[in-house]
């Protein structure tokens, strides 16, 4: 049976509403102040919450901001203006009820609440089923190590808690951040990723916090920073340890006050942003090395999510590889497949570059192979690609190609062309531009490589 909590200090209204809610088959509890409401909520979250805006000890909206998991909420108000409705909807309230009790309206509201609840339950059960099959939001894999990650994501997504994702390069930190956003009540609002390691130290302040017109040379107009643009949504700060220390102080202040001041500005602006940060560094080491302020670490580390390396979830290698191949097949209108020997080779590889390395290998093999992707099309021997070894000030996604001394010039060219093509996700024009060769030459080379393999 569904349960309703009614919070209103008008006893006759409380009684009338409780009666009509019970007639619809709900159980009810009542409270006439925020204090007693909090006691009721401590016993358990009701299915529907009716709250008066004006209570003797504060506004009913306060309760909403305190709750981590919100029930369907209906606002009780003396008179409903468009402003009330707008404000209520912004707070995530499902409906409002005016006094005196309008029985037809109560009936309609409860029908809507019940329907929404049924849809959400259905969605929950579909998600559960997908999870059993190794799908969770945008994440793929059913390994026990990932099930733990899914549990953490499911718990934190419902809240606005600051989250810190840690894991080696290529373990999928951004995909995890996206999934948290998708499953949160902010999912219709923006999700903005910023790679703190990829923005020049001199620009990052204005990139994050914005700047006023004329605040520095070249600032010819007002610029809104990521915090402002992510208002009501989620901001993903990747490689947060690459942020200059003095900016870490400012970031900490923004996290504590929910206010930003643009560069060159004086007026603090209120922002409502959920922050998810990520790093591939060892946190304590980063603090010891002076790369990360300890106070910021404690503020970010409210809810840590450590990601497993790919070699700790070997059972996920095949579904991941099949997924990457499926996407390529769809985009190119092909139906290439892995041979069983190729799959075996993928499963046994060490994967120092994790899921990203796997994706790159699949992309390169896809380009090289005709219909069946066999072991010799997998670029796993000879040249070893090292992802994430980056020079300071580089973009963080910079990739290096390591070749053994003594490799032929033709082989070197082959590895260079394929690695470049792959880092531009198969964009042949860009690859040719960067390598300073003609697109025609690039096509010729690719044809040769294909013929050889």
């Amino acid at each position: 049976m569904l349960h309703a909590l009614i919070v209103d200090d008008d006893l006759s209204f409380q009684l009338g509403l409780a009666e009509s809610v019970r007639l619809e088959g709900f159980t009810t509890a009542t409270a006439s102040s925020l204090v007693t409401a909090r006691q009721e909520l401590a016993k358990g979250v009701p299915d529907v919450l009716f709250i008066d805006l004006h209570l003797p000890d504060g506004s009913g909206l306060e309760l909403l901001s305190e709750m981590e998991v919100r029930p369907e909420t209906v606002l009780i108000t003396g008179q409903a203006s468009v402003e009330t409705a707008v404000e209520a909807l912004r707070q995530g309230v499902a409906d409002y009820l005016t006094k005196p009790v309008d029985f037809a309206r109560v009936k309609m509201i409860l029908a809507n609440v019940t329907r929404t609840r049924e849809l959400k339950e259905e969605i929950g059960s579909l998600r559960g089923e997908l999870r059993r099959l190794g799908r969770f939001g945008s994440l793929i894999g059913g390994a026990p190590a990932m099930q733990k990650v899914y549990d953490l994501i499911a718990r934190v997504a419902k809240t606005d808690a600051t989250t810190l994702i840690t894991g080696e390069t290529g373990t999928g930190k951004e995909v995890v951040a996206q999934t948290i956003h998708q499953l949160s009540r902010r999912h219709r609002e923006p999700f903005l990723p910023v790679n703190c390691g990829a923005v020049a130290a001199s620009l990052i302040e204005s990139v994050l916090f914005g700047h006023e017109r004329g605040s520095f040379t070249g600032a010819d107009r007002l610029h809104k920073g990521y915090f402002e643009r992510a208002h009501r949504g989620t901001l993903f700060l990747d490689e947060v340890t690459e942020m200059p220390l003095e900016l870490q102080v400012r970031l900490l202040r923004v996290l504590e006050t929910s206010e930003v001041v643009r560069v060159g500005g004086t007026e603090p602006l209120k922002v409502n942003v959920r922050v998810i940060a990520a790093t591939n560094r060892d946190l304590e080491q980063a603090v010891a090395d002076g790369k990360l302020r300890e106070d910021l670490l404690y503020r970010l580390n409210v809810f840590p999510i450590p990601l497993p390396v790919l070699s700790d979830r070997r059972e996920d290698i095949e579904p991941l590889a099949e997924e990457f191949l499926g996407v390529l097949n769809k985009a190119e209108g092909t139906s290439k497949r892995f041979s069983s020997a190729a799959l075996e080779r993928l499963r046994s590889h060490r994967w120092p570059g994790n899921v990203r390395e796997l994706r790159n290998v699949v992309q390169r093999a896809f380009i090289l192979a005709e219909d069946t992707i066999d072991v010799d099309a997998l670029p796993l021997g000879g040249a070893e690609k090292v992802s994430g070894s980056k020079a300071s000030g580089s973009t963080g996604s910079a990739e290096t190609l390591t070749l053994k001394v003594g490799v032929s010039a033709a082989e070197t060219e082959r590895h260079l062309i394929l690695a470049t093509l792959e880092s531009f996700n198969g964009d042949k024009q860009k690859t040719a531009d960067v390598l300073k060769i003609s697109v025609k030459k690039l096509y010729n080379r690719l044809r040769e490589y294909r013929a050889v393999s």
Partner: protein, 141 residues
């Protein structure tokens, strides 16, 4: 963009409602009787349908019975009684509006319609994903 069809024979209410729907980002068409409404519906199903209970050529509820797959429907009524609400719910109506146009109410109704639509879309996309994996099932196992 979401589309609304308004079926009401009171031109000033029709205009007021259409205006407030457009402000919420909906496109609108209007019809003032069942015959015109049927023509409009034959062109395509709107995302939300507003229908007056009492029209010159019959009750708006007739339309609901004729349609195979109903869009989310809101009934328009002079005064809402408990009986109206019960009857509307029995017919699968999602909400009702009383006259004159109450902008706060329209806003809330549309927010609920949009949310239900999003939840249904999410459900459909999760089902689609499940079907897709169903085909690949043995690979993942």
């Amino acid at each position: 963009m979401l589309h609304a069809l308004i079926v009401d024979d009171d031109p000033s209410f029709q205009r007021g409602l259409a205006e407030s729907l457009r402000l919420e980002g909906f496109t609108t068409t209007t019809a003032s009787n069942l015959a015109v409404a049927r023509q409009e519906l034959s062109k395509g199903c709107p995302d939300v349908l507003f229908i007056d209970l009492h029209l010159h050529d019959g009750s708006g509820l007739e339309l609901l019975e004729e349609m195979e797959a109903c869009p989310q429907t809101v009934v328009i009524t002079g005064q809402a009684s408990l009986e109206t609400a019960v009857e509307a719910l029995r017919r699968g109506v999602v909400d009702y509006l009383t006259k004159p146009v109450d902008f706060a109410r329209v806003k809330t109704v549309l927010a609920n319609v949009t949310r239900t639509r999003e939840l249904k879309e999410e459900m459909r996309s999760l089902r689609g994903e499940l079907r897709k994996i169903g085909r690949l099932g043995p690979l993942i196992d």
